[in-house]
Symmetry: C2
Subunit: 111 residues, 2 copies
DNA sequence: ATTTGTTATCGTAAATCGACGATAAACGAA
DNA sequence: TTCGTTTATCGTCGATTTACGATAACAAAT
């Protein structure tokens, strides 16, 4: 963006958007699901499960880590990733709050 | 992206990611909240509430509309936006499913 | 010490995003 | 018709994203 106007929004809005952005790619959704199902944990396993190259997967993991959703522990030569409990708890709270704010049923009849 | 590999993922993963991506900007989170609170509905009102230019707001609305989250009805010279009930219902379902898939508590002790 | 296997990072390229001003389009009112 | 208001679109710019191969970094094994 030319100028970053993000600071004009509330912290909650920025945090919610950051979480949503981190989940805004199918590969990252898939990674989170794989980690939750525990069908994969080590980076190399994730690479096998995903139709992406190793470097690309590594980048997606980096983004998820930056968003606080994922955590990596070095296990010898490999790295074992798992969902970051605290970060995901906050993500749940933020997304849950958004779902609560925007109910399923239409509210009125402005339109 | 150089090559689009999105079609390698499941439809649900792609849809979830698309919803998340649409919500992946503070302005769009704010717009959804404003529409839900019904403090704004007409495009011009949203512009007044947001620290962005009219054209930028219009683009964000376009993205939300493309994601099926928002709906615009022409009301004379102005356009009245509201949350798309069906689209948002699906978004709720997809995000809810993701939250259900990834529980709050850590599942095991891989890491 | 060398090799092998695993992961992160670098460099690169194309595509998309986010923002804006300017302009077009569409409507209501005068 | 003309004017003012409202919204969408166009064109543009720089920043970011997504992807990949190549390479570096590092641990374990030979």
């Amino acid at each position: 963006m030319a100028f970053n106007k993000r600071e004009q929004f509330t912290a909650a809005q920025q945090q919610t958007a950051a979480i949503a952005k981190a989940l805004g790619h199918p590969a990252r959704v898939a990674i989170m699901q794989l980690l939750a199902q525990r069908q994969a944990c080590v980076c190399g396993e994730l690479v096998l499960e995903l139709p992406l190259s190793q470097s690309t997967v590594s980048q997606h993991l980096k983004e998820l880590k930056a968003a606080g959703l994922v955590q990596g522990e070095i296990d010898g030569a490999r790295v074992c990733y798992c969902i970051d409990a605290a970060g995901w708890a906050q993500a749940r709270q933020l997304l849950g709050a958004l779902l609560a704010e925007l109910p399923a049923a239409p509210i009125g009849s402005c339109c």
